[in-house]
Symmetry: C2
Subunit: 409 residues, 2 copies
Amino acid sequence: MFIVAARYLFLCDEDFTILENQAFVFEDKILELGELDNLKKKYPKAKIIKTPKNSVILPAFINPHTHLEFSANSTTLHFGEFLIWLKSVINSRSILNAQAKEELILQSIKKMQKSGIGTIGEISSFGSDLDPCLKASHKGMRIVFFNEILGTNENQVEDKKQEFLKRFENSLKFKNDFFIPAISIHSPYSTHPSLAYFALDLAKKQNLLASTHFLESKAENIWLRESKGGFKKWLENFTLHPKPLYTPKDFVKLFKGVRTLFTHCVYLKEYEWLDKNLHSITHCAFSNRLLSQKSLDLKTALKSGLNIHLGTDGLSSNISLSLLDEMRANLLIHKNFDLLELASKLLQMVTLYPARALNLNLGELKKGKIADFSVFELGECDKKQAPLQFILNAKEVDKLFIKGKECKF
Amino acid sequence: MFIVAARYLFLCDEDFTILENQAFVFEDKILELGELDNLKKKYPKAKIIKTPKNSVILPAFINPHTHLEFSANSTTLHFGEFLIWLKSVINSRSILNAQAKEELILQSIKKMQKSGIGTIGEISSFGSDLDPCLKASHKGMRIVFFNEILGTNENQVEDKKQEFLKRFENSLKFKNDFFIPAISIHSPYSTHPSLAYFALDLAKKQNLLASTHFLESKAENIWLRESKGGFKKWLENFTLHPKPLYTPKDFVKLFKGVRTLFTHCVYLKEYEWLDKNLHSITHCAFSNRLLSQKSLDLKTALKSGLNIHLGTDGLSSNISLSLLDEMRANLLIHKNFDLLELASKLLQMVTLYPARALNLNLGELKKGKIADFSVFELGECDKKQAPLQFILNAKEVDKLFIKGKECKF
């Protein structure tokens, strides 16, 4: 049993409460919040965790959308437009995947931990990230492991199913609190309906989380909604009369009853298609700037009442997997927001909201929540300014606790 | 005499030409560009500078707007709205200035050099930055030293003039290629016309550069244009019936015939007021996000034909003095631009354009230009993508040459 106190506790509750000079007691869960002296008296055997002067404690961040198999990219892939990027991915994915060896992936995960991330949602395209993810899960990184399925060729559907099933079933063997197998339907432009049904059926039967990329780019939007544009031209290289596999609405219907993270949704206006209780949107602002030719209208998205949270996407379309960097990028991209209001909203979007999306009992400093939290040192600053100043200045955790245990880097 | 070659030379000319696998010869100026082998034959005694594989060479960056006297700020000043910030500056400036000792300012300058900056425009409010700036100028940092004047109180005009004159004349003693005294009129809301005339008269007589902050915030805009808003309320604490000291147009008229950098201009629509030959706009996008409640409409500003370049502003309203960070911020803030087009434009806005604004014979890799340039290592990347990939990935120079001499950090 431990007690930890700080200048500011960002509870990351719905009201974004900040407690000043308060403390909490925890084991693997948070037992009680309150005045340090009172807690010391009530829990005399609890060990006191030392924290720096002017520190901030907040829930560990959750990055629900990474592609660690692309960790080797820095200057290889082409940015500016989605199809140009996609073609460069297809050209370079074997090389990049080969370069993203276990050590590199473990380094990327360690960097995320240092930046305060306690849980990730890893989109596993090839399965080569399984071993490093398992290793990292033994060192306190909580990983939702989304086994991805894709393929449009009718003739290869059975092969694809078997290949997916092998990866998926293998991942199930390791299921525990820190390694949570799940499924990913790559996207409406890349996943044959038979494959999508097949994988989502498994998700329903086994009550697993799902993830998908949806309406990410201008090209995808025109393709799905109007059956034309760059996607059509590109697909004509392989098929005589290519047609979209779904309308956007029909694609969303596939996920009925399945807890799903819809990633991007930059070109989605029909928020009512999504189920507020089960569906959420993972917003990857930096990635969108590199590929989408448009930003998510965050104000409208938040007003829809849906759960909107942040993710970094992979290094295939970002320069960092840190949610601190991603929040800083969001401050700049969403310039139509009041700065201070946006700062506290962004902190909820990397804690409370993704925890809900992933159905995890964490993401908030609250009695009964799993004790996933970080301690950061921050200069002397005004309480009202603290969320913004934290986002602007925080670089690395002083300490990171996951399920009540301190992570060692 | 030296020869240096690189995978890519970003000339930073008006067309943003990129030369691939080319070289140039330089002494204190650039003598000739061409094929490495040809140059070796033509200049057999020239020493070859080693550069990393896949390196980029480009003109040293120019950051024409810093406030090094505020280098101690990180979490002290309040952001989100200009007047809230201004009040926090007034409350904390003595403490911050006292903390920004010579060593801290020298550290800030060294960091800028490491990020590829060869010239800065330092706005000197108190003169406490003079000594470190002089020291840095001996170590290859080229400094345009803008002695700032401000004050609105009629009764203190003479004292303010004398205080300014003392700093100004002192700075003139050190004038050389690396230390260029200049003047700064703080702003239309803070500088009495008598003080502005006085300082600008000196600038005209001695043919010096001028700088000013102009139409930075919503509050300033409403105050100058409509004599109301937060500024009025605040000034009523000191004066019975406060009135603006100038209309925006009259303020600009003061600078007729003076080469001037107008910093911010977020709320300027009347670009025709400025003189295309002598006036330029220093755009500080990150600072504006923290204080201005609006971004410069960069597309319209560029279309006006005026010289628009970047600056970081001080650590009083930024988290970095690196123009690499500032360019990355600009990529996100100006999301209505095509990404690749914006990348090369931004590189001109930190080299060619500020050199013109400051009337310096540099900022371009071209025969006859002063040899201020940096070498960066960059991963293997496509030529068309190179400007963007450079901005996204570059962190620290491999080498920095100023007036043909390598800077040692």
